[in-house]
Symmetry: C2
Subunit: 211 residues, 2 copies
DNA sequence: CTAGTTTCGTAACGATCGCTATGAATAAAC
DNA sequence: GTTTATTCATAGCGATCGTTACGAAACTAG
């Protein structure tokens, strides 16, 4: 089923037996499992059972465990341009942060998905052999952090925020709260309580008249 | 292996070959390894190499991997009464939170220890078979969270904080920042930058004249 | 000394790890 | 039909997992 991608144009199939499973659905199940149990602590056996395919099918369709995880992480992260646009198009950096954090609260406490954040927990710890995978996931965080920081600096330039605002620290606080929410969600915190935490944290946001 | 306990008084050794290693030092090395690589993603082989003992020695001295980890986590957490007293004896709840977070920043960025927080990362994800260990670690977090919340409510009762202060949300924010700092520290953030994040986050603390 | 107790290193247990060789099965191309 | 290409299920690869049986070694008690 669904070859890599038509790219819009239909490409003639070469030949051979067709895929007997929905690659996209299988990837979804893999993502959910990595989300719940982490990267190294999810076994191929766990994955094949959840994806309802055999090990050879998994390897031909996704390469190996590492690439399957990276693809699942990419699926979890969603379209980077869309999230970047959401940050840039928010009325203020504070509203962008609020949107990021409140959306995260919803995601982290979904009833049909694992709790917490895949990117926060799946590679939070691991053996040395998985260092490269950890680095890729850390890159997702760094990318978001930089985006938020840039958005804050735009508000500083626009006099929405005081000129003495520490953009890096403020962006860092948003990231810290974001990652922390994942832990609290895993610990069983309710959606409402996490939402209150976000509101509380955003009280740290500087206001113009402070300058 | 150490009889129940001396209870402070030296008890006559029963008999048998003496331990050839320092149990406390071995536990320290195990703690550092769990800290760096996590619970399930640290193997017995890794542990025996770092602790410089053989597998049978490990099992006779510490029971099994699970109990070794729990003992290492307890060692990492330190004396619960001491940390509780530090919170209670702080001049204000805000200063208690500042102390917790700034101490964490120092711990999370130590040059001779792994980065981040053992309790935040070692069981951030894991297989179902480690659920009980995850629960114990979550208990450490819940305990601290409750302590902080109680300290905040004391400040509310003492009119140091506005009566409408949401103690649970404020304590939750402290915990979220604490756990988030661990992730940022693992990602390589400097001690100074994390310290700035703490200062920024504490700007969210309510002030009396707001009421 | 001998007897009793505990730890030592070696060596290996069964189970699971990530991964793949192999050949039958199923499709399109000719 | 035959050929060619791809996926299928079975079965198993070597390595590592957590854990332990075993007997020699090292101590105390008598």
């Amino acid at each position: 089923m669904n070859k890599p991608d038509d790219g819009g144009k239909s490409v003639r199939r070469r030949a051979g037996r067709p895929l007997s499973f929905d690659r996209d659905e299988a990837l979804e199940q893999a993502m959910l499992l990595f989300w719940r149990h982490g990267y190294e602590t999810t076994s191929i056996n766990d994955l094949t059972r959840a994806m309802r395919i055999t090990a050879p099918s998994l390897y031909t369709a996704f390469g190996d465990k590492r690439r399957l995880f990276l693809e699942a992480a990419q699926r979890y992260a969603g379209d980077p341009e869309a999230s970047a646009a959401a940050i840039d198009n928010a009325p203020t950096a504070c509203e962008a942060a609020r949107s990021i954090l409140q959306s995260a609260v919803v995601t982290f406490t979904g009833e049909t998905t694992p709790r917490g954040c895949l990117l926060a927990s799946a590679t939070a710890s691991g053996s040395s052999s998985a260092a490269d995978v950890q680095d890729v996931v850390a890159g997702y965080r760094q990318h978001l952090r930089e985006r938020v920081r840039a958005r804050i600096e735009r508000d500083i330039a626009d006099k929405i925020l005081p000129t003495e605002t520490d953009a890096a620290a403020l962006a860092g606080m948003v990231m810290a709260v974001l990652q922390g929410l994942s832990v609290l969600a895993r610990d069983g915190a309710s959606r409402a309580s996490l939402s209150d935490i976000v509101d509380t944290a955003l009280n740290a946001w500087p206001t113009a008249r402070q300058s």
